[in-house]
Symmetry: none
Subunit: 402 residues, 2 copies
């Protein structure tokens, strides 16, 4: 298949609007007794009507058999090759708490741990301290840890997990993890794996020593373990690549963080799906590309709760007329990946998709479901090409070659 | 997807015949009242019978969402990666008038323009002079413009458009366009963008000065503007790549030009679809690969004339038995791209295709139409792989690997 970046060379601007309505983890697997997936089970008259007048298909987020994380799955949705643009763990941790990253940042996943008096790790997760304790400890670390010429930020995440950010010039990510992955061993040193990272290594050695002192009085979280070092990487934004003025509407911090990585404007005021749709309506005049992210389909899938996932889909269906009522030139309804309740996790199965536009060549799909989408006009396609197709239907791409 | 050039390593020769019957701009979009595309609307008993005993599918000329020009669309049909082999504008202009290019040629799109006494452009298209005037002026330029050691050719195209060819060693295409794209400004100098192009720059400065003198007495076309510089690029021919002895039968110069770029033998004697089919019959014994190009499907699509495009398809259908009657080992019927009458332009929609051969594994498609082809045995595939498939069905490819 062609390089998805070829579309960048064809972009023209107009006033059309594109809405990507993303139900996280939408794709599913059949229940044993009914033989139907979550989406096939849900009563979805509005999605079915939309499917009937649209072109449908099945999207592969990364590739055959590959179960994507949220990062690559969303990058693909927005036309960014998910393999070439794979994002370091630290950056996704930062995105996960919607941390405003800068080009000087080295982002590191930090786990609090418990060591004994001999300095050996006895609990790699510090007994899963509660998030409140985490907050208190991060605040203490922020107050007392100092590195010459480097801004140091400790951000609590959840339980024993935190984000460590070093902000300075010349930081490098080529450092070995300090978590030995086993108890009964001391933490490993943060060793540079390339000569250019030696300076960063010294800074981290100093930082760990200081942190250990600050935490000396803690009963459980008396040590830190570092991994997932990732130097912030600037991606060409959706505005730069496609000339769009994008708005991300996502109630969960992680997805706002990913949207920010791609230069989207981000709303932080929503909590429910209704909030998100109201925000879409309110902001519809001010942008031309909208990423609306619905989280509970994935959450209920991860819970393994088939019936609850069906309910979320029905809830979205009931709200859909408010989205279609805006009459965007292009409306895409799909997921970032599959999260079958029967697996209670992300999976590699392709994701059902609807693309609605006046320039669609309709197919024979009359119902929105995995099996129905099999004979849809989109066929089975790599997710990464969806954005180009949306731009084409929005008449935002000029002809290639003479 | 695999590199389309892998088939080159597998080619074997035999006496089989392959016919590519190409209806330009074949794919369409539904009419609002009937919900049917041009091809679905047309009465096509012969194409339907062919579809029923063949394998069908939908072809993507370049990629999802990409609307191809005629160059890339045809390159893909003949198994040439349309992105890697994207052809410069000047070369396509040359192909457009079926100009016999050589390896020494720098091909340039030339527009006649009007400048005032201060040398400022007042009409970038010289009032769209008629083609007869264009011919007269090109002839005068041919007679009077001389460059030391360089053959200079002025070929009229249409109205204010012409092709300028410089034929010599060491010419370069890295030159800036001289059209400032606005009136009220003087033409830009033909500046070299790399040091190696400085010699070509001097030649063009000299040429423009001479041309200006020759045109001094013209009321409208008193200046030339240059763009689309393209050094002729030799592509490996269809004979070299696939061991075929090809014949192109195309009534329109552009498609003969493209065929010539790929080393095909070219017939210039046809005007109508009937002529083309008669030419196929006459020359059937002398070649083994035939590219038959039907232009009016695209022309009526570009006109936005749904009914007329339907008529052309029906006309082709009526003639089809003369093609099938030749019993080629492989018969492909498809288009180079879609040209829906509702858009009155090329589009990015995939193109319905039939591949008929004794070695086909038939599918359930019984009618030749966009929706029917959705569930065809070819699935939805990149056009560039069609040639490999045709060669396989012609038993012209050996096994890959042991």
């Amino acid at each position: 298949m062609i390089d998805p970046e070829i579309i960048d060379t064809l972009v023209v601007k107009n006033t059309s609007k594109i809405v990507f309505f993303i139900m996280d983890g939408l794709g599913g697997l059949p229940q044993a007794d009914t033989g139907k997936t979550e989406l096939e089970t849900a009563r979805t008259p509005n999605l079915d009507a939309l499917a009937a007048r649209s072109v449908c298909g099945l999207l592969d987020p990364v590739g055959y058999g590959v179960t994507p994380g949220s990062g690559p799955a969303h990058f693909a949705l927005f036309g960014y090759d998910p393999v070439r643009n794979n994002v370091g763990r630290g950056i996704l941790e930062g995105a996960g708490i919607d941390f405003p990253m800068t080009e000087k940042d080295l982002l590191i996943r930090l786990n609090f741990a418990t060591i004994d008096r001999a300095g050996l790790i006895i609990d790699r997760r510090a007994g899963r301290i509660d998030t409140e304790t985490n907050r208190r400890i991060c605040s203490a670390l922020r107050d007392h840890v100092r590195l010459e010429g480097v801004e140091v930020i400790f951000e609590p995440v959840k339980e024993h997990r935190a984000l460590l950010v070093l902000r300075a010039d010349r930081l490098r990510e080529e450092i070995e993890e300090t978590d030995p992955q086993k108890t009964g061993l001391p933490p490993l040193p943060p060793k540079a794996t390339v000569p250019e990272a030696v300076e960063t290594e010294s800074l981290l050695v100093d930082l760990i020593t200081q942190a250990k002192k600050v935490l000396a009085g803690e009963p459980r979280a008396n040590m830190i373990l570092l991994r997932g070092y990732a130097k912030y990487r600037r991606f060409p934004s959706i505005t730069e690549r496609f000339g769009l003025n994008p708005l991300a509407i996502a109630s969960y911090p992680m997805y706002r963080g990913i949207a920010r990585l791609l230069g989207m404007n981000v709303l932080t005021s929503t909590n429910t799906i209704e909030d998100e749709i109201a925000a879409l309506e309110e902001n519809y005049g001010r942008h031309d590309f909208f990423f609306v992210h619905v989280k509970p389909t994935d959450s209920r899938g991860e819970d393994g709760d088939f019936a609850a996932k069906v309910k979320v889909i029905e809830q979205v269906d009931a709200l859909l007329p408010r989205v279609t009522g805006l009459n965007p030139e292009v409306l895409v309804v799909t997921g970032d990946h599959s999260t079958p309740a029967s697996l209670a996790s992300h999976s590699w199965h392709p994701v059902p998709a609807i693309l609605a536009a006046n320039t669609c060549r309709p197919d024979r799909v009359e119902r929105f479901g995995e099996r129905d989408c099999l004979c849809g006009g989109l066929g089975r396609m790599p997710t990464v090409h969806l954005m180009g197709l949306a731009l084409a239907h929005a008449r935002r791409l000029e002809k290639f070659g003479a």
